[in-house]
Symmetry: C2
């Protein structure tokens, strides 16, 4: 393969890193663990944001903005929450620099020390519930359905572009409800919204489930999740929606007068997806030639490449393609015509394959004579010749077909990589030699879950929603179990 | 006046604070100087973002994202830049918390000290130019036209909601060019984009100009600006666009091979507007009854309030207004029908006045009989009765008229508050007793500029573009001057 990309079979991890860089999606910055999202990568994120934002608003949510900083003491209010996040916090201790006494550069001004340190938000439950306290007096003030688009920081020791970075971009929904039932329904509803988005826009099939206690969000009663499978057989958590019970309301003393005129603590949910999804997008669909982007999220859906030897030929082609480009734009399809004469056509073919543009249209002098164009689809790398007058319609249908095809392909791969194991050896064998999800019995204890993780680096990805109940024995301890759960090695 | 809002004549500053809070735009958070932007305030920001983003893209810019953190040493690379920002930097010194030895909460883990402190970005020139270094080798890589939507932090000692907050939201454009001329043209072009946006969407008249040396951005060769006038006679800088010369390219060693195959430093611009503009929006148009929002940015453009005594009446009204509401929505006008029967109509009238909804439509049983509705405009507080069949068209025209009217009103106020002063006493007298902009002669030195600021707290807001040249004498020193500049007291 060309383009200086390591192949997947050679080194999957290196293939991913090469692709992120060569396709101009992101790069590492001078700040450890923080990435620069380049224009092409950010354009994908913008499409994801626009789609999700619309879905959130259609389900009654509004956006708001809460502070970047959280007073240190807030984190400690919810015991499990602080346990989960304290070890990866960026801490602000001072608010001023001054000239270095030796004249070289600046130093922290020791006189500008904060009375209480501030934490750069790793997630915003604490600062938001401190705010909600002032917004909620009675059941009439509920529900509150807020979402925030923001950056957050978790000081990860081992980082990878998109998948695990110290700073990442995300949205975090935070809702407040008068009843447990309503909050639980909200958490489940948002899981459905995420599943809808990830499957129908990102073309990534997911399994909806609930996390085991060990994998829950720090401070949640239940964490619902969608789990995806990457081409190397590792799982990736693509989104989570938490039912928080009254934990944060109690931590921040948020009470309300209910319809019976009694004081009660408010019920909460939070839910989020992040730029990590771009990592999932890459690893689900792309190949050794570069990115494969689902048409619904591709910044450029169609690229038109004229083949010409001189200005005269180019002008004839321009004239010919103009109405068809206009038709595509009217259909809301994003088209780029690349007639840059400083680059060879072969270079362009490679480049747009690398960038994952779903459909390429090539028009040369002979095509003009025959009143046709050659179209190539990125997902299957197949080509066909299409008469000019049906081109726009053909491409519109083709985009829908590509969207469907890459989803079906990913689903077939995922489905063929869900296996059952009835013994410890079988579990280990499948994980070591085949990867994917393994449905196996587990005794339901935190200890066993931790022991399994320790021994074979596999985690319980989720207990699928509407899971089939069946009697069995835990693959590690042999203790009785009522259902299989999904194990995998994961990102 | 109702609504617990201090009047402007009573206390302008308190009126502003009351309004921001009562209209649900924003509030102070538990973190000193950081605000919570509430859903209604954020909805205005979203409309501003969407409009500006479109304008940036139409002028060839793409969005990207750069790290929140800046290594301390980066700030020192550009001498004036560090001078300008060092005193207000939030500094990260540690990356982990641990359980407090006394068992109460968490403390900073002294073992998790960063080798080099990180600064929360006050602006991103340094980290971006460090990144551009790797993107630019030859003139073929230029121009780079990036914009970033982000949060930034400047540790201000005295903060006010929207106008001056420790954390604020903004966009910052950062462009790189092969020639000085191209960079200067870019800086001026973006000033025009800002002026267009602020005048035509926010309905705030601005004066375009260039800053005097004292008021320049730290690190710029020239700072272009748009200046607005608030109702209390104080000026507000509404946006800036900087020609940075080769300062940052030199600081970060960003060189390129030009068309003549010679190494040269890259030319730069940066430009930004922030949530501060929401403060300008409020202070330009609003009155003692609450917000007055320009239709182009109002989250709700039209509110429909049915007056009814029972469900039967409400149903008749609903049936009647349905087609008209649909017509408005088809025209892209945002409409809210408030038929909440737990609130009195009088309360609703007050509430939507407070929230600045441009047009209110009231429909009661008698209006049904007469096949008409009462519409009230927020800007002039006038009402008229309109037949139902022409209602949608009338409202569409009315929204355009309101947009125009509030701009004209603000312009008339601004124009009547630009005065000339030919002596020191005259300058002081106008500033003390009338406010507004004062066009006066200045000898062009930094010393005089600083002396004037020290004596009377007035600054040179700008030297207007295409300023008329005329001989005169500096109002402070009597030294010769070639043109008048605009002085004002400012936010």
């Amino acid at each position: 393969m060309a383009k200086d990309i390591t192949t997947r079979s050679e080194n999957y991890s290196q293939w991913y890193n090469d692709l992120v860089k060569k396709a101009d999606l992101a790069e590492n910055s001078a700040v450890r663990g923080c990435m620069v999202i380049k224009p092409y990568g950010y354009a994908i994120w913008e499409k994801m944001q626009a789609t999700l934002d619309k879905m959130f608003k259609e389900t009654g949510h509004t956006n708001a903005y809460f502070p970047l900083f959280i007073p240190k003491s807030f984190l400690s209010r919810e015991a499990e929450h602080v346990e989960g996040f304290a070890k990866e916090c960026a801490v602000i201790t001072h608010y001023r620099l001054k000239k270095s006494p030796d004249g070289n550069g600046v130093v922290v001004d020791p006189e500008a020390k904060l009375e209480e340190e501030l934490i750069v938000r790793p997630t915003s439950e604490t600062i938001i519930w401190d705010t909600y306290k002032n917004w909620i007096q009675s059941y009439r003030d509920l529900p509150i359905l807020c979402n925030q688009w923001a950056n957050v920081v978790r000081w990860e020791m081992r980082t990878r572009l998109f998948l695990r970075t110290a700073e990442f971009l995300w949205q975090e929904g935070h809702t407040a409800h008068a009843t447990k039932e309503e909050a639980e329904a909200e958490a489940k509803k948002m899981l459905e919204v995420y599943a809808d988005f990830v499957e129908n826009f990102m073309a990534i099939p997911v399994i909806k489930g609930v996390k085991s206690p060990n994998e829950r969000f720090a401070g949640a009663i239940d964490t619902y999740c969608i789990e995806a499978l990457m081409q190397d057989g590792k799982a990736l958590q693509a989104g989570t929606s938490h039912f928080l019970g009254q934990n944060f309301a109690k931590a921040f003393n948020v009470q309300f007068l209910n319809k019976e005129n009694q004081l009660d603590y408010v019920w909460a949910t939070s839910w989020g997806v992040s730029t990590r999804l771009i990592g999932a997008l890459i690893m689900t669909h792309s190949d050794d030639n570069g990115l494969v982007l689902p048409p619904n999220l591709a910044p450029i859906q169609v690229v038109v490449i004229p083949i010409f030897k001189n200005e005269e030929q180019l002008n004839l082609i321009r004239e010919k393609i103009e109405p068809f480009v206009k038709q595509l734009k009217e259909k809301g399809i994003s088209v780029k015509v690349d007639d840059d004469d400083s680059k060879r056509s072969g270079w362009k073919f490679n480049e747009y394959e690398l960038k994952g543009v779903p459909v390429r249209v090539v028009v040369g002098p002979r095509d003009l004579e025959n009143n046709q164009a050659e179209i190539a689809r990125r997902d299957t790398m197949t080509k066909e010749t299409v008469p000019f007058d049906t081109l726009a319609g053909t491409i519109e249908n083709l985009l829908a077909e590509i969207q469907k095809n890459i989803f079906e392909k990913a689903r077939a791969f995922r489905d063929s990589n869900i296996r059952t194991a009835d013994s410890w050896d079988e579990l280990v064998d499948i994980l070591d030699n085949k990867g994917g999800f393994v449905a196996a019995h587990w005794d339901g204890t935190v200890e066993t879950e931790e022991a399994i993780k320790e021994k074979i680096k596999a985690t319980i990805r989720c207990i699928p929603l509407n899971n089939k109940l069946e009697d069995g024995k835990c693959v590690l301890t042999g203790k009785p179990s009522k259902q299989r759960v999904l194990f995998a090695r994961a990102y």
